[in-house]
Symmetry: D3
Subunit: 168 residues, 6 copies
């Protein structure tokens, strides 16, 4: 299976250690992983504070500072489509070929299954703390959040503290 | 200047040796180069035969087989905006920070200058042969084109020969 | 009045016996009824599980198996417009001429009245059970729903049971 | 093969006898034919004078006055997609299931072949006269055109003569 | 500072005396005030009952009947952008040059600050009564509302009473 | 007729003396003239060098320096619609009520006539020189153009000379 290519989809608001574990999990099963940055057009709102460019920096800066071979992953921003049914096709246009999709989202799962793709659920550890919603909540209420993300992600979050104070 | 980040924009229909030289030229002047795959939504037409995913594969497969450090470049697909004036802002949303833009296109130049960005012209060698238009013409008329692109790009072009026969 | 043409608008998620009765009601008053399948771009979500093509099949398969003359109705899918005010104009572009609109929706009523169209309220029987919301609820909770739709609609619903299990 | 369903795509500006022959040709090979009215959003321009609603009326009025069973065809308007690659997916959303596509257009052919659909070329008789371009030219220059369309189509064209005088 | 130009943004559903006071407040500080009618594409819904044209009439009719010099203000309708980040750029395209933004909205504030604009908070008097939400509530429940708007605005509201009865 | 309201539509690339004469012509027949700045989303291209904000400044600065009462005209930017048929409806949404349309464009004329509006042709003087196309040509080739526009328009054109040198 290591000659296969996989797809991993997230909003990464922000990119956190749970995402990093999911990427390690997927890279045990596929040779190359396309990381799709979903809702790429969204930013500056409570559920989506960061731009796609900022999220791409979080992913890239973090992964380049791990032991993971930079030839084995690639992150690609993707806008929401106007409707669900079109979205998976728009993804096929922007992303190189892939064999399998890593996701736990039920609608994403059914959309890919209806076009004949294999879908693999992702093991998520410590889901209570390792979620974007929880991390955004902690930033907003000045609770500890730095241990949940990489130091590279933390640096980008810190640079945007003016915005986060208003939006979160 | 080597701590700066640059932007290089193209349609890459297909990615050819002129683009590769331009990337080497830019990387002498900046530390990191964001390569923007423009008109990402276009494919299956005479001037734009390849999807963004196929063009990303050409760029990535080619560059990973050069001596260029994979930490120094990153290619990002970008849709055309509905109007010129909005396009450079949409780019800022999808691409991490940059200091300088490498382009020879006059409208792109004026758009970036009006928002205060530095623009550097790109040296283009052998422009008569090293252009997407010329390479598409050669493919269409069964003339020699393989020496104008990398072997990785040639492999992707070959896989799409059914489409090219119809569209070019 | 039987030489007039009417318009009947619904989302048909799914098409049920209440819709069928409304069509019979309208066809007592107009010669031809244009059935507009609204929110045609929506599918694969809780309130809109079926694609426009699936909804068109429900309507067409059902009506062709009634005594109603196939020359007296025609169903046409219509996307939501970006804004209410534009929607009725977009409808006029896609639908042949009509004289009267059958609807109970207050906003649809006021939009058509402001452009000078006659609007007729539709008698709805057994609204508690004969509604898309109720039928989707029953499918989701494995309660009886088959007596509320035609056997043709039921067949299409059954074919999509994998999707409905996830989405409803 | 008569249990199969087919797809026939055209702009129908206007619907003419060549289209009618193509429909008879297709109906020898499939049980049901979905007739897709392409570029449905276009009207009031030289190459696309008629609205989708007017074109639907031409097709419906004409076919209901032939011997062809109204259960064996159905015409559905379809907007252009923002990009080719998305268009065939948008079609799948709006149109019920189909097995084979009737078209002579090379780009449409390659798009459907790339997603694994069978494509059958359509026999076109007297292509010099039986084309939308030629019929629009004849209307504009007051040459004979009525023998090239059905009497139902001619009636709709006549009703729009004010518009055609300006636009063609 | 009186040679400066300012920007004042609102939805004006409807335009009321609080808006008028804010305009007087801003005109003490700038020479010319561009009044941006936001969400210009919205109408015929509970939170946005009036079209942009109706809102422009409210503003124009009211201001032309004050002592304020008509050379010192200008109202311009602006659609919502598909995403926040693009919106301020779309505004720059439609509105003449400005130096300072009058707003109390936190997201608008952060968006303008991130592109380097000065933002001034607006003094709002009697916010409990002088808000669009409160005025729409009063219209809906037949409570007194006329003292909260100009007589010119009241006249336009009265003309749309059929619509308001349905929508509010 | 002086209690009527009129509509005058143009692209104003740039606003010139021919437009000014047309406005005087229209204001002899109507009390108030809504001046619609068409293709408002276009700028930075050969046929549309100026943004809507720049064009609005040309119109406003020019008219405020004439004898024309500022209460008798109002300029409103309008985007192109995705299709002709929708455009006149989008206009009705953004512009206050009007009774008559001043235009010479045949398609605009037929679109307004089909929805029952009166259309009046505009007397154009010296059409050879007083056209946007001709003025843009003169600017590009360094020929005399200042006598064809107001001094206020000339000032705005001069400020954008860097852009015009590239784009025209």
């Amino acid at each position: 299976m290591l000659s296969m290519k996989g797809l991993f989809i997230g909003r990464f608001q922000p990119f956190h250690n749970g995402h990093l574990e999911a990427i390690r999990f997927a890279l045990k099963q596929v040779e190359i992983l396309w990381i799709v940055i979903g809702s790429a057009q969204r930013s500056h709102e409570q559920r989506n504070p960061f731009t796609a460019g900022e999220r791409l920096s979080m992913i890239r800066d973090t992964l380049l500072n791990t032991e993971i071979d930079p030839r084995r992953w690639y992150a690609i921003p993707l806008y929401d489509a106007t409707h669900h049914y079109i979205w998976s096709r728009e993804l096929d246009m922007l992303v190189p070929e892939y064999d399998v999709v890593f996701t736990n989202d039920p609608i994403t799962t059914i959309l890919f299954k209806e076009i004949g793709k294999e879908v693999i659920g992702v093991e998520l550890k410590d889901r209570d703390n390792l979620s974007g919603t929880e991390i955004r909540r902690r930033i907003a209420s000045n609770e500890e959040w730095r241990h949940l993300v990489s130091k590279e992600t933390a640096m980008i979050i810190d640079k945007k503290s003016d915005r986060l104070r208003v939006i979160l």
